[in-house]
Subunit: 640 residues, 2 copies
């Protein structure tokens, strides 16, 4: 058999290996250590290497995007030598970061050809006013309107009391030269009314940023992108837990809290506090002041939007589940209570229904699926699970009452994805001993959503739980035992944990996770059935939201949470809600598209749909009652 | 000579008198007492009687309007018997009231054919919403919009955050039947945007009033007419001193106060306090609540408007005298600080210049002069003096810096027209003893504007002052003497007065009054000259404002304050500013007309006009240097 020279960058000497040698084997032979937490089964992606020269054959590309592959990435445990090759072994942290950090951070590219004059509703103009005289006693405001008409073609300029109070001082301070900040719904028509938002004495230099912010109010996390509206560039990204968490983990408990005596004002204050703090933090980074921010676009689910604005949200949780408002008119920052420029424009993006909010309309925009020729499944599973199926021709959507299990709630040792959370688990198929990765690299305190999914998948593939989700107590391992909540599996012993207690998963936990994943998968099934599109024919699955940020897709497939299809049909989009808000912030054409998207989406109420219950029951198994729906998982199981 | 039977209603027996007998003589003969404070010279109007049957001839009709004459009124001292007659002698109080109270009170007739659907920007609609169901989860706000479109043809309904907070509760409380209050700039076009101002559960009965208020902010007095917008009826009229008086009597001193540290907020608070108190008082009268008021129209001079809104007013008093804004956009009550419905529409009427404000635009509307074929002189002399000359073809206007002399300021014993003010004076041409009438019928404390005018006229006609305004010290009367401020004339001795001091008028006071009247007359002269219309060809003089309320026109003519023309060419219109605001409140077509009026008026800045100084100097005499301009006064003087 042909021998090939394989050179690893981390050791001086190349090694020789015959055709068909696994890269991991060649590495071992060359004295190069490659991590294989999943035991070389191609599940964890930790053995990724980069082939810089030569040929290898990838047996499996799970955990790798087509972009990764184009860059030469390969899973060492799933790739074989077929010729001379030079291989770079990235530091483990780099792989982890690549796998786990928000990939979109690097993706905030300004849309190509962005031009504020074409796309932005806000304009900053230099205006030179004719000074008054005894022969021309025109009032200051008319004088400004005349300058705007003559010098910028603004024929219908409006303003507010706050500005009328300011104009006289500003025009005199600037010796009749001013910089005016205007907002218009559109600048396309010659007679479009424009609104004077702010005025400054003199001419502000053209390259001074004009600040805007895109905000996503998640039930758990609030994200904010501070943007220069003149260039479209995101200049600071910040995120923080929604302070409302202290008053309830999920939207239902928050609605209940808000509907009690004064609770609405408290809820409003908490989220405003969160946002205002983020505004300050982002501004500090770019040496700006929050009151220089002249426009914000806000995305978030319908409950978050109602609570932000102090609009009663009770009807959202009561049959027949209607919101007070889906399409919220543009408002002033002062009215909303945001600490930006008091006259700043607050644009809350439109939602579709009680449980398909602006975050999904924005997400669809960010995904581009509404312009796609392919059939796309878009999902945003955060604290709630929303799904959209469609293309440029049609869009259907539903919300799954998945419950907060994947956020760590309803699970004994569940926790949010913070420091100390186990975020990935691998179980040795022979010893049943787990290895795991903890956020922050500290002693573990519990399991977050991605940790639970990978744990459940590993338990299933190694036989620790059966198809029905029962822990196999016949396995002879100290890790499998009876606990206070029935059978349980020990992931970490007390001496390994932060709090000194064993971290376990119980049969009850597994049942809760099964119900959560079944609700989501049933959502896919009902949506697909409603439009007669078999799930397997879907061209692409786009995953947005916090769920998609850290998740191991093939493990989610293995437990039947995601439909079984080849890895490259999945794509993580990160926080699509804030990205959609950003696009709406900088481009009024895209803003208009969100309104169209919200109007186009056909909402399917699952609780009113009989097919949902059947689909849900069928999905209450690992991965599913109907294994023909999960051919790749079936193949993997055979390999074990 | 033919004898005629004359019957007075106050005595049982008729009397007999030959043709040509004065009614006062016949009355004396019949034993009927008729007051003649001016000594039977036809100047005071106190001898007015009503001829119910038969014939008399009126030699003079000064102090009587053509309406009065149609009702049979005659001045007993100026009318002669020409046949049998029956004469009613009204109680003196009734005459005084008729002469002195605001005649427009009775005139607040709803414009003929008033229809809220044709004229009103506010509409109250009953809407029946389709209740939501699991098959129709449309949000509350869209549901309301749909009902408004289907049931009232409102295709573009907008609203505010406050309303979005309310809608959900209201539609459910009313079991999906609601009453919506909408505002539109106009209802003429099918796609006019309308704004949801308020919503009530259920159907409010059609005859429930929909409250609006017309407000005039005078420098001295704030007037408010509470109006039912559905019928156009004024249901309560209230007035009160502007609390800002405590911080300055005139606009200039108030601007100075406002421009100092925090003074603007204090000024704003004071006038808001006045208005909010009036709102309460008016509402109490009709058993309504101020927060039921959904719209106000506000008139007032430019300074009052700026101070109300907290807009810096300094530029009004500094060369080149420009306002910050003349055409103020429509605002919300909450923004302005008015205690009506928070979403109530606040419509500040447009002004023309720093010293020709909305009160004048409104006054011109109320006068109807902008539609007149005749040439009309409109004047509003309150704390300031503004004049408009014109017709349907053209309008010119100016402001006279008359100073506050006619408001009682700058005069030793001057005071405002309140209880204790001498408001009319008659001087006996032989004894030089005065008689006077005091507001409230109490002991006098000083002299108000109308009192000063009548005093000056009487002093001039009886020779107490000469043409140049000097007190004639050669007259042998204890009332003419030297005082601390030069020569003076005693109107009331200390034992007759409230404070026990003599009430006098000094040479300095007379000079101040002369300057004030000269400024106003010079205004007439400059306006007339600017358009080439001789003053004597003016068809009508319309007098609005507080000045015109109590004034004795022929006395004002005698001192050369008003042009000398026949009595029936003068007409008192009362508070034209509040009346104009009322018309704008109930009819958007009239509101539009005020904007047109403000735009049409050509403003002449007197301080930049060379002809003004000459005209002013010529008018610094009693009545004027050029006596040919005052033929009737010349004739009266000859009679003395």
């Amino acid at each position: 058999m042909a021998q090939h020279t394989v050179k690893f960058d981390t050791v001086p000497e190349p090694t020789s290996a015959p055709t068909g040698t696994l890269v991991t084997e060649a590495a071992a032979q060359a004295g190069v250590e490659i991590n294989q937490p999943c035991g070389g089964q191609g599940r964890c992606g930790r053995c990724a290497v980069v082939v810089t020269e030569g040929e290898i054959r990838r047996r499996s590309t799970l955990r790798l995007s087509s972009e990764d592959i184009a860059k030469g990435y390969a899973l060492a445990c799933q790739s074989v030598i077929e010729g001379d090759a030079e291989i770079t072994v990235p530091p483990q942290e780099k792989i982890e970061r690549r796998l786990t950090t928000d990939r979109t951070a690097a993706e905030v590219a300004v849309p190509e050809g962005y031009s504020p004059l074409q796309s932005q509703t806000i304009r900053r103009l230099h205006l030179d006013l004719t000074p008054p005289s005894m022969d021309d006693q025109t009032d200051d405001w008319s004088r400004l309107q005349i300058a705007a008409r003559k010098q910028a073609g603004v024929t219908d300029l409006k303003t507010s009391l706050e500005m009328l109070r300011k104009i006289g001082g500003m025009v005199r301070e600037g010796d009749w030269q001013v910089t005016a900040v205007l907002n218009a719904k559109t600048w396309d028509c010659p007679d479009c009314p424009a609104d004077l938002l702010d005025i400054h004495p003199g001419h502000i230099p053209e390259d001074t940023p004009l600040w805007g912010a895109a905000i996503d109010i998640g039930t758990t996390t609030v994200s904010l992108w501070l943007t220069d509206l003149l260039t479209g560039q995101v200049r600071a990204q910040v995120a923080e837990y929604n302070q409302q968490i202290a008053r309830g983990e999920d939207v239902i408990s928050r609605i209940i809290f808000a509907s009690k005596n004064g609770g609405d004002e408290k809820m409003r204050g908490l989220v405003l506090g969160t946002i205002n703090e983020l505004l300050k933090r982002a501004c500090k980074r770019v040496k700006a002041e929050p009151n220089q921010i002249i426009k914000v676009s806000i995305s978030g689910n319908s409950t978050m939007m109602h609570l932000l604005l102090g609009i009663p949200a009770s009807s959202i949780r009561l049959t027949p589940f209607v919101t007070a408002v889906n399409h919220i008119p543009s408002m002033s920052a002062k009215d909303v209570g945001l600490d930006i420029h008091p006259r700043g424009v607050v644009d809350c993006l439109p939602g579709v229904a009680s449980y398909v909010g602006a975050d999904i309309s924005a997400g669809v925009l960010a995904s581009g699926m509404d312009y796609s020729q392919d059939v796309i499944l878009f999902m945003d599973v955060g604290t709630n699970g929303e799904i959209v199926l469609g293309s440029s021709d049609w869009l259907v959507t539903c919300a799954c009452s998945a419950g907060p299990a994947f956020e760590g709630a309803g699970v004994l040792h569940g926790m949010r994805a913070t420091k100390g959370a186990i975020e990935e688990v691998w179980i040795n198929g022979e010893t049943y001993d787990p290895s795991f990765r903890v956020i922050g690299g500290v002693k573990p305190r519990g399991l977050c959503g991605s940790g639970l999914i990978s744990l459940l998948a590993e338990m299933f593939l190694t036989g620790v739980v059966d198809k029905g989700g029962s822990i196999n107590t016949k396995i002879d391992s100290p890790r499998i035992r009876d606990g206070d909540h029935g059978s349980e599996y020990v992931i970490a012993w007390g001496h390994e944990t932060k709090h000194g207690e064993d971290i376990v998963i119980t049969n009850v936990d597994v049942d809760n996770l099964l119900r959560a994943k079944a609700a989501i998968y049933a959502g896919f099934a009902v949506l697909a059935e409603s439009v007669g599109v078999p799930l397997e024919t879907i061209d692409q699955v786009l995953i947005g939201g916090s769920f998609g940020k850290y998740i191991n897709v093939e493990k989610a497939v293995e437990i039947g949470l995601l439909p079984d299809m080849s890895w490259d049909r999945f794509q993580f989009l990160g926080n699509t809600s804030v990205r959609g808000a950003y696009l709406a912030l900088i481009d009024h054409n895209l803003r208009r598209r969100i309104t169209e998207i919200a109007a186009r989406m056909t909402y399917i109420e699952l609780s009113a749909d009989n097919t949902f219950y059947d689909a849900f029951m069928s999905a209450l198994f690992l991965p599913h009652t109907d294994m023909t729906l999960f051919p790749n998982v079936a193949a993997t199981m055979e390999k074990q």
